[in-house]
Amino acid sequence: MTVGDTQSTIDAVWRLESPKLIARVARLVRDVGLAEELAQDVFVIALEQWPESGVPDNPGAWLMATAKHRAIDQLRRGERLEKKYAQLARDLATSPDDGYEPDLDAFDDDIGDDMLRLVFTACHPVLSREARVALTLRLLGGLTTPEIARAYLVPESTIQQRIVRAKRTIAKKKIPYEIPQGSELASRLSSVLEVVYLIFNEGYAATAGDDWVRPELGEDALRLGRVLAGLMPKEPEVHGLVALMEIQASRFAARVGPSGEAILLFDQDRSRWDHLLIRRGLAALDRAEHLGGHAGRYVLQASIAACHARARTADETNWSRIAALYWALGQIMPSPIVELNRAVAVGEAVGPAAGLDLIDQLGDSLPGYHLLHSVRGDLLERLKRFDEAREEFETAASQATNERERTLLRDRAATCVGRV
């Protein structure tokens, strides 16, 4: 095996093992930043030793054992310093077990709880959204700083700083390394799910520039979501989020046409949908529904996505159910965007006039939001009010930030010209 081979094996092993390593070491040293440094040290050791000695049979176990030694060394060193500061004359080398006893059993029990501690720390609401996203990708997704920077189209130094600051905040605010319990759990969990869905959306719908989808981030988010579902199998919203992402991701390939233009859900070639992901998404939704309880925002959104996924053709879409689901979503998550989507569903289930009524009730609650005008244009076109429809499409085109979407909207405006 060449050095290059070993290097790429180590890169792969890093991605698979580093989250577990960091999660576990953090429990021992009670410091996520330090834990990450120690994990990195261990990989440096691997990088030095493995090209010579060969990759161990069980690299995960090797790394964990090495990390354990490093962590204990670190603790003893810290302890030694403290004792020095306290001007104690005792030589620790002769009584190394004195004082703080690290939780060594931590290395033998189930890794799941430590992973959860890491999840809730990286997604702690005290951190900014951007910081939570960067930290989550780095600590839980096993991405390197350059990889994160590339995905977000920002300089590496920006991500580096974000991560350093986030770790400092965690230390300064003394965020305990634990799984939130009781009433705190729900709000902390929603912060975690929000982070994963933000990452997914960044991959799914690039908001600016020419890229419609950056599928890698979408895949990273999906993977994180599935990890969460494994860690918290009894939380319906976690399964709901996974279901939502699997189903939305199933349409990645169908969203872009031959010359790079966007294709809206309605016009997509459904044979290009990824039926493996759809099946996985429907199974995840099933799990969420079996757990019962009130359907939360992710379960509801997944149910809506599932309505589309189940329809073999656009005409078979169960729009009444979608309209009802949007109504329910609006009850727990009131938002003009949800209302806009409900208007689309009602426009299909009942008719364009009913949809238009709902949109007009929105008033000015979505200033500068191009989709409002695009939907309004669509409904007006169906009502044969072509002049008004053209105006709406033009407004939408002027507000859209995505170049391809703009083109699509201008084309629609053009088709309304001169029709009566």
């Binding site: 094996t9 792969a12 991605r15 993977r223 599935r226 390939a253 031959p258 290009r272 493996l276």
Partner: protein, 123 residues
């Protein structure tokens, strides 16, 4: 990216006569669970023996249907897993873990092949 991990082995004599040991099955279950929880394993299944299979052969306009077993085949595909990984090395790493759990009594091959992605841009 996605990879298909195909498990190839001889139908007779790839492992102990009395089949996989209980310990191996436990280890296998653990690995599958780990891969699922890591968000890597998308789909997996074992295949029935080739005796139950059928080959539909096409040779320049001539159709030929042959029922199994296929005596000419030494190694056959016994099962597959579809996994999502960030690199081929990562997929290979999982495949190593899979073959390793079979222990010293087995001989088998895991072939890792990337699944073609649908073209992002057809232009």
């Amino acid at each position: 990216m996605r990879f298909m991990m195909m498990i190839k082995l001889e139908e007779e004599g790839a492992g102990p006569a009395d089949g996989p040991s209980e310990q191996m099955m436990t280890e296998m279950g653990k690995l599958m669970d780990e891969m699922t929880k890591a968000g890597v394993l998308l789909d997996t299944a074992g295949l029935q023996p080739t005796a139950e299979g059928t080959q539909i052969q096409w040779d320049h306009g001539k159709l030929n249907v042959v029922d199994g077993p296929f005596t000419e085949a030494k190694e056959v595909i016994g099962g597959y897993a579809i996994i999502q990984a960030k690199s081929k090395e990562e997929a290979v790493e999982w495949a190593k873990r899979f073959v390793r759990l079979h222990g010293d009594d087995w001989k088998l091959t895991s072939e890792v092949r990337q699944i073609e992605e649908p073209p992002e841009d057809w232009g």
